[in-house]
Amino acid sequence: MKLTIDGLAVRFPTPDGGTATILENISLAVPAGELVVLLGASGCGKSTLLNAVAGFNPAYDGAIRVEGRLVRAPGADRGVVLQTDALYPWLNAWENVGFGLRIKGLPQRERDARAEQALALVGLAGKGDHSSWQLSGGQRQRVSLARALVADPEILLMDEPLGALDALTREQMQDLVLDVWRRTGKTILFVTHGLDEALYLATRVIVLAGRPGRIVVDEPSSFGRRSLAPGVGASIKSTPDFAAARERLRAALFEGAA
C-alpha cells in the first residue's frame, strides 16, 4: 500500500479553550497507481486530511503511513500541489521546478535537464526561462505540478489544484492531470469540491461529510480510466452513466452534511 490511514482524528484548540474535532475515524488504504479523489463540501475537513498526510499538521491521532513509514513531518516522498501555485516569483520556471533538486544538492546542469523534462511532461517545453508573472494561471499550476513531479514522490497530494482557474482552463487541466497520471503511473490523492471533476478524474471516489468529517462514500469509479480511451475524453461527462453517478454523489454529499 502506498498510503494507509488508520483511525485518524484531527482536533484543533478553539479560541474559547475547547477543542474542535475536524476529522474523526478516518481509515483508508490506497494501493499504488490509484487516483483517489476526496470530495466534500467546504469545511468538511478534506484539506485538513490532505495537510495531515503531507505532514503540515503533525498533531493528529491515529496513524498515517506512506510506504509503511509513519508520517510526522513533511517530506520529499509526498509531492504537494496547492490551490495557490505558490511559485517563487524570484525564480524562473526551470528554477522553480528544480527547487526540490537544489535542496537535495544536485548540480545545476542536472537540475535544469530534469526540470525541462518535467516541464515537457506538463506541456510547457521551452518555457523554462519564463518568470511566474509571465505565465497564465493554468501555466503556473502546470509548473507547480512539474515541481512536485520532478522530486519523484511516492504519492502526489493535490489540494483543489484547479480551484482558482477559469472553467475552460480547468477542463484542459483535468485532461492534463489524467495524462500525467497515465504517463507517470503516480499514486494521486486529489481534493476537490467539484462533482464532475471528482467523477471525471477518479479511479476511486471518497466523500467526506458531516462535522466532524467522516467518510460517507468510498467506492471505485471507472470514468477516470474510461475517459482515457481514444476519442472519449470529456465527452464521457454527458453520458447517462455519468449523470446518474453524479446525482448519487450529490445526494451522498447533502445527506452526509445534514
Binding site: 513533511p74 509526498r78 516569483p89
Partner: protein, 295 residues
Amino acid sequence: MSSPVPVSDFALPLLVPAEGLPRDLPQGRTPGMRAPRQRRWPPLRLVISLATIAGLVALWWAASATGLVSKLFLPSPAVVVERLGRIASEGFVDATLAQHLGASLARVFAALVASLAIGIPAGFAIGLSTLGRGMLDPIVEFLRPIPPLAYLPLVVIWAGIGETTKVLVIALAMLPPIIIATSTGVRGVARDRLNVARALGATRWQVLRLVVLPSALPSIFTGTRIALGAGWSTLVAAELVAATRGVGFMIQSAANFLATDVVVAGILVIAGVAFALEFAIRLLERWLVGWAMQA
C-alpha cells in the same frame, strides 16, 4: 483661457439637432476617454517637477535681488553657488567639501552596514519566534520614537566623543525601520510558499535562506530606504559632538560665523547626496527584487 475646441466638442451634441451635425466632428477626446498612452520624453510629471523647482529658485533669487530679505538671512542663489565652488576648491574650516562629504558618507555607510548586520537578524528573530518577538519588540518600540538628540548625551557619556559615538547615534536611528521592515516581511511570507518547500524536503535553514529571505527582501529594501533617510537626518546631530569634518559639522560651524551661504550650500549638498543615494538604491532594488514590482 480655454480653447474653443473642447467647448464645441461638448456643447454641440446638446445644442444642435443630430441631422444638423457635420459629418466629421473634430476627433477630439470625449469625456471619460483618454488618448492612447504614449511614452513621451520628457514625461509630463518630470516637466512639472522641474518647472516647480525652477520657479522656487526664481522666487528665491527675486527675494534676495530686490532686497526683500536681508542677505544675512538668505543669500542669493548665485552667491550660494559661488560659495559652493569655493568650498569645493578651497575648503571651509580646514577641509574641502570632498573631505567633509567623505567623512559624513563614511559615517552613514558604517552605520548602514552595522544596522543591517544587526537589524536583519533581529527582524528575523521577531518575525520567526515568540521569544524573539517578546524580547526585541519592546526594545524597538522604546527606541523608535526617541529623537537622536535626546540620547546623544548618553551615548557621549558611554562611548566618548570619538567616531564610535557618531556612527552609533546614526545607527540607532537607522535600526528601528530596518528591524520593523524585516520582521514585517518575514511574517508576511505566505504559508503555502513555506509548505511547498518543506514538502520538497527543505530543512529549516534551507527554508529560511531560500524562501523566507528572498520573500522578505523587497520589504527589507523599503526599510533600508527609510533608514537611510533617518540616517541623514541624524547626521547633523551626530556631528554636533567634537567633529572636525563632516557636512553637518560644516553647517554648524558656518552658523557660528553667520555664514548663511555656507549653511544653505551644506543643506543643498545633503539633499543632493540623499537624492543620489535613493536613486542608487532604487536601481539596486530593481536589479535584485525586480520580480516584486511585476505582480
